[in-house]
Amino acid sequence: MAARVSLRTNLAGIQLPTPVLAASGTFGSGRELAGMVDLREVGGIVTKSVTPRPVKGMPTPRMAETPSGMLNAIGLQNPGVEAFVEKDGPFIEQAGVPVIVSIAGRSVQEFAEVAVMVSKIRGVVGIEANISCPNVERRGEVFARDPVAAADVLSTVTRMTHLPVLAKLTADVTDIVEVAQAVVRAGAHGLSLINTLLGMAIDVDAFRPRLGGVTGGLSGPAIRAVAVRCVYEVSQALPDVPIIGIGGVVDARSAVEFLLAGATAVAVGTANYFDPHATVEIARGIGEFLAAKGMSTPEDLRGRLVTPSRPQEPVYLGG
């Protein structure tokens, strides 16, 4: 007997029609794609990160394809929060899809500024703090690489808004669980795991980096195993904290990997570029998967991972 499947998902109090969102920086705010993708079928959109003032961004080339992935160095180009509120605000209000605004800044104060502004947009259902930004007050050290700085941002942002706030973390740290615990203690309502990995590629004919920004963010299926591991580690340590799993989700099976690892929802990044309907098709695929397994909601997958009892002694896992 086939179970009745419902994809509706509660993510830190945010109601989503499906557990498949579009990841920040890979779907705009939905405006550009609205003519082609029926946004009502998208689980949610996390907007491109917005900063207090306009950012011109990095010189080109801004992307390089790599094996099963890509590098990008956009440099957070965005028109600034004022222009965002003006241009994207009206769109978001009537978009018919839950919109989470990604905010970024170079100081705690800047995060606070943007949080206040975007909270006023009707239709915005949550804030994602993209703390993979350099902190100008600490020699450019990335917030997300320092539990204290990361917690500072989250405690401030959560005080500045009535909306649920997700902290987006990077895997480029020694201990992602430590950072996760710090931001959750600071008030984060949920976590987005993970941002791109810091990488670099070189044009061996030109003797130049393939990116204008020299280094950039690695995304796509290439990083999926790292992302699944991060979600698993964090959800084992913080089983009650809702997590958006991000990194190389390209189909329903890769999405289910994240749900089994402990995520409440997933966000699709790079796959939107080659498959603009990815969020829609993956949600459909998850529905079929659940039906085939006799399950009724994505929530049924959480915690269902069967792991062998781990040995008592620490073991080497690198090879």
């Binding site: 405006r31 794609l33 080339p61 094996p67 080659f274």
Partner: protein
Amino acid sequence: MNRQKCEVLSAKRWGVYHSITLVAPEIAEEARPGQFVQVAMPPGRDFLLRRPFSIHQASRTGGWAGTLEIAFTAVGPGTEWLTTVEAHDSLDVVGPLGRPFPLPRAPTNCLLIGGGYGAAPLYFLGQDLRAKGSRVDMIVGAKTQERVFKPVEAKRLSVSVSTTTEDGSLGERGNVTDVLPGMMARCESKVVYACGPNGMLRAVAEYCSEQGIPSQVAVEELMACGMGVCWTCVVPVVHRDGRGWSYERSCYEGPVFSGARVWWEKWLGGRSTPVQTPPEGFRLEEMTAEGVGTWPPG
């Protein structure tokens, strides 16, 4: 912007060029010269992203109504794979994408300059220009004879054609810019349209700016999405008032830009001249008034 699974009607080859004609009624219906499509790659490969190709032809009426043609050379794994595509295969295509060439409000003398496969969209443009009563002249350049894109068709379309090759194997030896002043004078060109390597576009645009002639150039920058959402494909473009610049998306605000407004030094390097205000005689409003329809959408 549409996404269609398109049947391949035919796949042809001439010299170094391959062309694929697709059944793509929705895309063909909307397509304007200068726009492009994004073609999906097969699954299971170690490269993921779609590949962008200019629309070489889009037939909205007649026997070929609803078809679309792209032309390309094999330069890497994506285009290599495309050379193996055959009739009746199916391609996943998104398009039409980007800002097309703006057509002049009133008929005038238009010079079309194509380098390598960059000439591909100019035939589609030339037809539209002629249909609206403009005079079309062409310069078609390439490295070598076999890379000159459809020289015979260029002759059919234009009042006059000048061909250049770097090795002199066809037409004049040299670059399109070597013959540009002469052609522009002889044809009394009032507008220049160009597509080809970015370095060529820069040379054309800079000459046109000096001469006070408007140029519209279709640029190429690495694209991850082609749909305006990733901001990888940007080009530094000077604001209309000449007092600042932004990185604009070549897939959305472009690929066609006014040659006078692209900040070439910033983009392609080389001597760093100050940002130029648009030259006198720059008539953007006039240029964009017609033929662009609802572009940009929303």
